[in-house]
């Protein structure tokens, strides 16, 4: 589904990604772990299309399309979804109004019919239940007054509403208590199909107890330095990132 080859990227002249390679196929769950500063959020930002970053080398193929050539909204319409690490509050913009507008712009792009008000509200009720998000919160302003856990659940609610091909969860678990974590993980698991895929970026192993990955990658100093099965996450948690440095003589 997504094929990242030799990706080099900088911000303000400083190189963060130094030749990153990653292949994700439909139906797969990939976890990316790494120490602070390794480039995890940079990767998520670049895939989503943040303009502050400069891609200096490499390519990203998303289902046959050159992702780096597409504007942010086009990437979303092609089926890419980023669950933000720090979801912003947008007072005065209703959560469900904007989602309906987004859904319709995505449908228009794909030549599909616009969603009716009735169908849309049914979807809202269904999907908000998935992440145990009170319907009342769903109709308030985007993230306004939401707790940390509610903001993250709102991200997964939106993911459920927009039904992306590839979802990138950028440290979705950070700041969550165990209950919130379980709800979020549960939501993500329920949305998994053989046709979609996820990239789970996380600092801590505990999320991966709930969302079981097919592959675990270690991102270190701007490159994926090690890939393994889900057990690799446990090993990493136990031994720390220094172990990786030693193993690879970095």
């Amino acid at each position: 589904m997504i094929s990242i080859k030799n990706l080099h990227a900088s911000i303000d002249g400083k190189e963060i990604l130094k030749g990153l390679n990653l292949e994700v196929k439909a139906g797969e769950v990939h976890a990316i772990m790494g120490p602070n500063g390794a480039g995890k959020s940079t990767l998520a930002s670049i895939l989503a299309g943040r303009e502050e970053y400069e891609v200096t080398e490499g390519s990203v193929d998303f289902d046959g399309k050159d992702l780096l050539d597409l504007a942010t909204e086009e990437r979303a319409r092609e089926g890419l979804f980023l669950a933000f690490q720090y979801p912003v509050e947008i007072p005065g913009v209703s959560n469900i109004n904007f989602l309906r507008a987004a859904l319709n712009e995505i449908r228009e792009y794909r030549g599909e019919e616009q969603v009716s008000a009735k169908d849309f509200m049914t979807m809202v009720r269904e999907k908000s239940a998935l992440v145990e998000l009170d319907a009342k919160l769903a109709s308030r302003s985007v993230n306004e007054g939401f707790s940390g856990g509610e903001k993250k659940r709102n991200e997964i609610f939106q993911m459920a509403m927009l039904n992306p091909k590839l979802s990138i969860l950028d440290e979705t678990d950070s700041g969550l208590d165990i209950d919130a974590l379980r709800i979020v993980a549960n939501g993500v698991n329920k949305l998994k199909t053989k046709d979609n895929a996820s990239i789970i970026i996380t600092h801590y192993q505990r999320l991966l107890d709930h969302i079981v990955p097919d592959f675990v990658h270690v991102l270190y100093d701007g490159k994926i330095v090690k890939t393994g099965p889900k057990e690799l996450a446990l090993e990493l948690e136990e031994k720390g990132y220094d172990w990786i440095k030693e193993e690879l003589s970095i």
Binding site: F84, G92, V93, A102, E105, V142
Partner: protein, 418 residues
């Protein structure tokens, strides 16, 4: 009487033989003042940020003309509409069936002593010009106890090249009356026209008067528009000043709250682009106790446009227990957009609650990115966020047709930029 002013400084208006319709006593006073007054420069505090050279160096013509229809120009369809074209009342285009509880006449037929009562002429060039060269206007009386359901629409249309409209309205809301007025300033093939309008408004005891003032003139047009308001006991006066397009606009809103237990609401939206300039000067003067005033103005400024907000609130020595709140918020959409915001509170009483606030900032780019990352185009994202920004002022407009008109024009602006 001389048709062109004696002063060599001010030429401005070519009357083509036309004589202003107000009474001679008022005109004499104005003529006196016009003999020595000069156009204010930016060294005059009240005009510090609004340069008048564009207006003062031109000659505008009094022109009685007509247009075919108001179909595409009116703000609302459901209203009793009074049409003025280039400042002249147009009977054909105006509504015929007067609603109950209202009486209307042309200003030249009125002998009301209220005309000119509170309007300052000394050092006020535009008030003086308006007094001397009034082309037309209406006296609108909302009768005592009348509850008028049908909105009254006063539609000012400018048309043609270099025309000048000088209208004077007298609006009297008698005791216990209730009415809403929509005053629209629009253009029909107008190029470089000048509008100098004055409305003298008297709100009686326990009366409710709501005015939605909409400005949507051509980019090349100039306007100075003044409301001089007086409120009596227990009355509620709301005026929403919505500036959607125009070249250079100065709004002077002066409200004397003479009665106790009054409610005064001044709200505004201004959306500017290109080289447009809007200057909103407001004064709320609390003379007596136990009143409340609320002021909320929001601006969206793009490209090289400039905006001025100067809101003065006076609370006089005997005006205890006054709640006066003022807020001005501005969003700058470009690097060259400018706003000068000056809230002023002058408080002489000691048992009052007053506040003022002014914010100026840019659109939250993080919020724009968030919406785009969900599939919304950049334009849609910006439109949503700007809509959210002005929403609290839109909520002050009660008439749904007016809301639809305003939102439509704002939407249009967003669809046309970049």
């Amino acid at each position: 009487m001389s048709e062109i002013l004696n002063s060599t400084e001010i030429k401005l208006i070519n009357t083509n033989g036309f004589q202003g319709v107000l009474n001679d006593t008022l005109k004499a006073k104005a003529t006196d003042i016009l003999e020595t007054i000069k156009f204010p420069t930016t060294r005059v505090e009240a005009w510090k940020y609004t340069r008048l050279t564009k207006i003062s160096k031109q000659i505008f013509n009094v022109s009685k003309s007509t247009i075919d229809s108001i179909e595409d120009l009116s703000i609302v369809k459901n209203a009793f509409t009074i049409v003025l074209v280039n400042g002249f009342y147009n009977e054909d285009l105006s509504s015929k069936e007067l609603p109950e509880g209202i009486s209307i006449d042309r200003i030249q037929n009125s002998k009301s002593p209220l005309i000119g009562k509170n309007l300052k002429l000394e050092n006020e060039i535009f008030n003086s010009l308006n007094t001397n060269f009034t082309t037309d206007g209406i006296t609108l009386t909302i009768e005592k106890n009348a509850n008028v359901e049908t909105p009254i629409q006063i539609l000012h249309i400018n048309e043609g090249e270099q025309t000048v409209s000088t209208t004077r309205n007298l609006i009297i809301a008698e005791d216990f009356s209730k009415c809403s007025i929509i005053e629209g300033f629009v253009s029909s093939n107008a190029n470089t026209c000048f509008d100098n309008s004055v409305s003298e408004i008297f709100v009686g005891k326990n009366a409710f008067l709501h005015i939605d003032k909409i400005q949507y003139q051509n980019d090349s047009c100039y306007q100075v528009s003044t409301e001089q308001v007086e409120q009596q006991d227990d009355s509620t006066f709301t005026i929403n000043t919505i500036t959607l397009n125009g070249g250079l606009i100065r709004n002077n809103l002066n409200i004397e709250v003479r009665g106790q237990n009054c409610n005064t609401n001044l709200n505004g939206i201004y959306q500017l682009k290109g080289n447009q300039h809007v200057d909103n000067h407001t004064i709320v003067d609390h003379l007596v106790p136990n009143c409340e005033s609320n002021e909320l103005y929001k601006g969206i400024i793009d490209e090289k446009a400039t905006a001025v907000f100067n809101g003065k609130v006076f609370v006089r020595k005997d005006a205890q227990k006054i709640n006066a709140f003022q807020s001005n918020g501005n969003v700058l959409l470009s690097d060259d957009a400018t706003v000068n915001s000056k809230p002023e509170l002058e408080i002489y009483a000691d048992d009052v609650k007053c506040s003022h606030g002014s914010t100026t900032g840019q659109l939250d780019e993080e919020a724009v990115f968030y919406l785009r990352a969900r599939g919304l185009s950049e334009k849609s994202a910006r439109k949503l966020i700007v809509g959210a920004f002005i929403n609290d002022v839109i909520e002050k407009i009660k008439n749904e047709e007016v809301v639809a008109y305003v939102q439509g024009k704002i939407e249009e602006r967003f669809s046309n930029t970049k």
